[in-house]
Symmetry: C2
């Protein structure tokens, strides 16, 4: 089954929000969380993965926040998946440890290989800049319009967080 996790969904949305900026002045996670109506704590969690993958860089303290560390034109959806979920495609007979004993003889092994290839191709082709250019409006604005004026309530669904 293919599932786009909330980590990737929220992470991607937040990266788009970062890409809205001038790329120099850091954006605080607090404001992204508020504007996008996502849990601040969860976003923090997610951004630690992005920092480790050197996709964003954070600076602490007041006036701190995150900036993109990579060019949106070369930052692919694949990179983001990798940073946030680890391996994009898994099937038993492909990982080292439990490598299946059938090897080349197995009729389906090639099939999973093709499937993985097709998936990777798709994900590597789309960059952050591509997606962004399809939408005239800044992400944050679009979301704010949907939710009306940003109020006190945050977090998604019933859960209050920040």
């Amino acid at each position: 089954m293919f599932n786009v996790s909330t980590r990737v969904q929220y992470g991607f949305l937040a990266l788009l929000a970062l890409a809205d900026g001038d790329g120099k002045t850091p954006v605080r996670l607090g404001s992204i969380a508020r504007d996008l109506h996502l849990s601040f704590k969860y976003l923090e969690n997610i951004f630690q993965s992005l920092v480790k993958a050197r996709i964003v860089r954070g600076t602490r303290g007041p006036e701190g926040g995150y900036v993109l560390e990579r060019d949106p034109r070369s930052l692919s959806l694949y990179d983001i998946f990798r940073a946030l979920e680890g391996p994009v495609f898994t099937v038993e007979c492909f990982d080292e440890e439990s490598a299946c004993r059938h090897l080349a003889l197995c009729p389906v092994r090639d099939l999973w290989g093709e499937l993985r290839g097709s998936l990777e191709k798709f994900l590597k082709r789309r960059t952050l800049a591509d997606i962004k250019s399809k939408y005239k409006k800044p992400v944050v604005l679009a979301h704010m319009e949907m939710f009306g004026v940003a109020g006190e309530e945050t977090g998604k669904k019933e859960s209050a967080s920040i």
Copy 2:
């Protein structure tokens, strides 16, 4: 993340084994499990899903077993995934209940749609007959060669079953 579950892996392999036959005389699960070195009980479990999806038909008793109920040339990988795992692609903002409030405004919604489309296209294009035709040898034979003479031990890895 995309994971090919063992249900699909084993199920697909077993279907290939079924397709090796003449399509008329039922194949017992016991022999498939033995030849492919898979857990009989788990295969039974898997085949109940295939029966419900009308992909195979079972007849009980001695000389019983399973036959394909659909033409291998029109039975796609997609059908098999659906039968064994349910939905192939999931993302929060696509399912009814938790439909996201951003709707058309959300910049990534279209993206997940394209991803799903590309995945479905791949899975719908490959049929059981396609895969089978790429391999001259019957699946079961190939496996038996790998494992040597079929012995008493069954199940995958350390687990003994049947």
